[in-house]
Amino acid sequence: MTMNGIVRVENLRKHYGGLAAVNGVSFAIAESKITALIGPNGSGKTTLFNLITSVARPDAGAVFLNEHAITQWAPHRIAARGMARTFQITRVFGQLTVWENMLAVARQRRDAEARARAQELLRLVNLWELRDQFAADTSYGQQKLLEFARVLMLEPRVILLDEPFAGVNPTLAQTMVALIRRLQTEGKTFFIIDHAMTIMMSLCDRVLVLDYGELIADGAPADVQNDARVLEAYFGSHREKPRATIG
């Protein structure tokens, strides 16, 4: 499939030893849409995010942001161009407070606007009361929420989220979903890895499915959920549908 998109990858490949983690993947994601990247554990999802954001170098292939080749750019340069991400294994600054974590990424730390934004975001993810605690002293779930809030400080146009809902209380996950939707209406583009299928299938406009480093399905949530290969590789054949009550 060739098409333009705000992010486009062309024939990306990455091997670790004998393992083809990402094996010739091409796609483009559309601006102002929410695109899901799902697949079994170990299927190459995080590696693909790493290649797109230059956290890892591809063996072959290219990455484009707004049709500018950004392959192997320094990660901070990509962030400055408007694409930012979170990590599955949280990377907060443990010896800084929650508040300092937020301001550490603001371009103008003393800027009243940045501080107001930090406050609004922390309140939204229930971390405002914890703003003076060291990030290292917060729970795993809270560190995920801090990363989510912090990435939004950058006001990126394209936001890659690696398992934002894992370990997050389902009710709070609904708050995050509402914020993602609001940002989408403001024109932001989201590319999200997560296994919380009930949330993902209602939130995302389109779903890409990876298995063994290859794209095995690409389509609307309803179509992908009924795709035989996806059922086998990912949902398991005996309980194919996401359950209503699970976040």
């Binding site: 795993y140 389902p170 009710t171 709070l172 976040g247």
Partner: protein
């Protein structure tokens, strides 16, 4: 919601946590938390991020010393005992995040779990029992743990905790970050464990799934006991659904 007195049972609890306060550095995460687990029960501990769920397990396992309160296991006071001594007493622990020895084989990981067992015949017998419970692991005894899927690693982590024949195991977010197919597999496995008569306490953010298989559940909030009832009653409680299960 029933009050705690109505739920009390005559037989002494296998695990009894009484009014513990504990935390990290100057920060008290738990304040006067109490819970009891009867022999043969599956008890789910749920609540928002930062409620102190993982901290309860760490305090029981002797990784944190409570500033007040006490923990009893099998009618003995075990407050702040060393973790290895608790393992010898029959408590098992499966930490958050599929912690396996990634460069060791499945079999070697299980042998590490039996570190406190001296008799090689006992280890061999126990390995066979564990393989009977986890046929997927039996098929891959020589596989290097780091190359297995996330779901298989989580199963190995549970299987390893069973190597000492514990009377009870504490599971910290066993479904975290797993693909739906493996979430089902891990919960099926937990139900199978329950049927062997082992006592379980499970901390889960996938709260609805945990309550479905639990005999009873505790809801913690801000480091305090909030609600407790049977798994079904909590699952059907409007307030619990709205506040913790995402609707």
């Amino acid at each position: 919601m029933k009050n705690p007195a109505q739920l009390s049972v005559e037989s002494p609890a296998l695990l009894q946590v009484e009014n513990i306060s504990a935390g990290y550095g100057k920060l008290d995460v738990l304040q006067n938390v109490s819970l009891r687990v009867q022999r043969g029960e599956v008890v789910a501990i749920i609540g928002p991020n930062g409620a102190g769920k993982s901290t309860v397990l760490k305090t029981v396992m002797g990784m944190l010393k409570p500033s007040q309160g006490r923990v009893q296991f099998d009618a003995q006071d075990i407050t702040a005992q060393r973790t290895d001594q608790l393992v010898l007493r029959g408590l098992g622990y499966v930490p958050q995040g599929r912690v396996v020895f990634p460069k060791m084989s499945v079999l070697e990981n299980l042998e590490m779990g039996a570190f406190t067992v001296r008799d090689p015949r006992a280890i061999a017998a126990r390995t066979a029992e564990v393989f009977a419970l986890f046929p997927r692991l039996a098929e891959r005894t020589r596989q290097i743990a780091g190359t297995m899927s996330g779901g298989e690693q989580q199963m190995l982590s549970i299987a390893r905790a069973l190597m000492t024949r514990p009377q009870m195991i504490l599971l910290d977010e066993p479904s975290l970050g797993l693909a739906p197919k493996f979430v089902d597999m891990v919960f099926d496995q937990i139900v199978a464990l329950k049927e062997t008569g082992i006592t379980l306490a499970i901390v889960e953010q996938n709260a609805a799934r945990a309550l479905e298989i639990a005999t009873r559940g505790y809801v913690l909030e801000l480091g305090r006991n909030k609600y407790q009832d049977s798994g079904q009653a909590l699952l059907n409680d409007e307030r619990v659904r709205k506040m913790y299960l995402g609707g």
